[in-house]
């Protein structure tokens, strides 16, 4: 029993990270209709930058983390400005190709600067597990989950109550109408890339603290597709739940397959199997908007 609970907790933590990355993906998709294939690479870049700052520049972790967030904002602005703004109005396929190009560029840059070896973050939180409901949980897991939940809370409030958040939703619905209200959609696009880079970097730093990082980290982005498609491409709540569900399912399936069938590696495919099944039942995802139809 404890084995399965442990799997569940691992799943929730990893799922929380998927949720964060999915959040970044959904924000970009909602605001700009761009499917960002470089989302996983943004995670990787954030993780490496924070690693560099702490280990190579000896900056205390908290400051390194904050600097990483600042760096992510700049990265978001830069990417939007250089790669995507020139493409406003171009066909969806060219935009997708650009994000794929961006993903290989970011991945190669990381390999150039940091090599392909696995890097280990310094121990930030104590190793001694805390006991929750009778189960020992590593503090870093707990922190990871709390941090993801907190970010989700902040962004939900932002999109519900702030002027800018509401303007971002309006832009997602109808760009030209948003422009007619005086909403500068270029700023909105830039803003959504910044947010996406920041949440991805947070995900990357959390992962780094749990597992260490290597140049394969960018492939995490692939896991985000099942999560967002499951949740519905344009729903924040969907991204949160989609990420958690994928995280939990892949850990449980992996655990079960190991225990009963002696198979390993199920983790990698479980998410996609689940995805296919769910899409057969609910083609818009669990929370995706179908068009509003008035009768």
């Amino acid at each position: 029993m404890e084995y399965y609970l442990q799997l569940l907790i691992n799943g929730l933590v990893v799922g929380g990270i998927y949720s964060l990355v999915a959040l970044g993906f959904v924000i970009i998709y909602k605001a700009t209709q761009v499917v960002n294939f470089a989302q996983g690479e943004l995670v990787m870049v954030g993780a490496y930058v924070c690693f560099s700052l702490t280990v190579q520049f000896n900056i205390p972790f908290v400051w390194a983390f904050l600097l990483t967030l600042g760096f992510s904002v700049l990265l978001g602005l830069l990417v939007e400005r250089l790669a995507l703004r020139p493409l406003i109005g171009e066909s969806i396929i060219s935009v997708i190709m650009v994000t794929i190009g961006l993903s290989s560029i970011l991945r190669s840059l990381v390999q150039v600067f940091w090599g392909t070896q696995i890097k280990v973050y310094p121990q930030v939180l104590p190793v001694e597990p805390v006991v929750i409901a009778g189960l020992p949980v590593a503090p870093v897991y707990l922190a990871a989950f709390v941090l993801s939940a907190l970010l989700f809370g902040i962004f939900s409030l932002f999109f519900k109550y702030s002027r800018l958040g509401i303007a971002m939703r309006a832009t997602a619905f109808d760009q030209q109408a948003a422009q007619s209200m005086g909403i500068g959609i270029r700023n909105i696009f830039a803003m959504s890339w910044c947010i996406a880079c920041v949440v991805s970097a947070v995900g990357g730093v959390i992962l780094g603290n749990i597992n260490g990082i290597n140049s394969q980290l960018g492939y995490l982005g692939l896991k985000v597709f099942p999560a967002v498609i499951l949740g519905g491409l344009d729903s924040l709540l969907g991204a949160a739940l989609g990420g958690l569900i994928i995280g939990v399912l892949e850990n449980l399936c992996d655990g079960l397959a190991k225990e009963f069938l002696g198979l390993s590696g199920v983790r990698e495919v479980a998410a996609f199997v689940v995805l296919v099944v769910i899409l057969m039942i609910k083609p818009y995802g669990l929370f995706g908007t179908e068009e509003i139809e008035r009768v």
Binding site: R163, A170, A177, Q179, M181, G182
Partner: protein, 266 residues
């Protein structure tokens, strides 16, 4: 009388090839309602978008002439700049943000206006349109066409514009609602002193509230004058008000035939 807005020999081209406005000139007098009438495809919406800067996102471009707002050329400015200068376009077809609530839509309208004025402006909108207040928390997509038009105008009021560009506010509304909407437009004009440029298919309703009117055809102004005179003009009665010279309704075919002939001449 000062003119808040002046268009001089305006030419607009879409996609680098389609010439839609062909040297259009008009002016809107401060604090008045000016009507811009014309058949489908005449270029009325294009004219408004050339003023508000919304052409940009449709691959349209002002290639000649100028748009002067308070004497300053504004053609080619991005729409957010133009809105901040006090020019607000209510687009054709309402363009409500359907998956936002009514009040969130109104907040979008207030995007450029100072936060301190938000509450007062909101009260004002709810004063004009009590029905919006009743439905403030509802998703805007589920509102009726008339309510959506009220919301579209409400968003404009939230921005406190000095020049309001209204594109076919009567589109698809029942006669009673058309009357209500036009009354409100008149009220906004009088109480808030907002200058209005009103594009309409419903020529009678528009000329009844407007001071001055322009008739456009094929990208040019073909006639203009005080609204009262235009209402009396036999040609206009025939084409736009659906009356024959004797005041009797003419059949669509006859009118269409005449119009075709006139197009050839023009």
């Amino acid at each position: 009388m000062t003119h808040v807005l002046k268009l001089e020999n305006l030419e607009v081209v879409y996609n680098d090839v389609v010439l839609v406005l062909k040297g259009l000139s008009l002016a809107a007098a401060e604090g008045r309602i000016t009507a811009l009438l014309g058949a489908n495809g005449a270029g009325k919406s294009t004219t408004l978008k050339a003023i508000s800067g919304l052409l940009e996102s449709e691959d349209g471009e002002v290639t000649a002439g100028s748009v002067l707002y308070r004497g300053r050329p504004v053609q080619g400015l991005p729409p957010e700049r133009v809105v901040r200068m006090g020019v607000f376009q209510v687009m054709e077809g309402r363009r409500i943000f359907e998956d936002l609530s009514v009040e969130e839509n109104l907040r979008c309208g207030a995007f450029v206006s100072p936060r301190a004025e938000y509450a007062a402006n909101l009260d004002k909108v709810y004063g004009y349109f009590p029905r919006l207040k009743e439905r403030r928390g509802q998703l805007a997509g589920y509102m009726s066409g008339g309510e959506q038009q009220m919301l579209a105008i409400g968003r404009a009021i939230m921005a406190k514009p000095k020049l309001l560009l209204l594109d076919e506010p009567s589109l698809g509304l029942a006669p009673l609602l058309v009357e209500e909407i036009f009354e409100i437009v008149q009220m906004i004009n009088q109480k808030e002193g907002v200058t209005v440029l009103l594009v309409e298919q419903n020529a009678r309703a528009a000329l009844n509230v407007a001071e001055h009117g322009y008739i456009m055809e094929n990208g040019r102004i073909v006639m203009e004058g005080p609204a009262r005179d235009l209402l009396q003009n036999p040609d206009i009665q025939e084409f736009y008000l659906g009356m024959g010279h004797a005041g009797a309704k003419k059949s669509y075919r006859e009118v269409k035939h005449y119009r075709r002939r006139k197009r050839w001449l023009g």
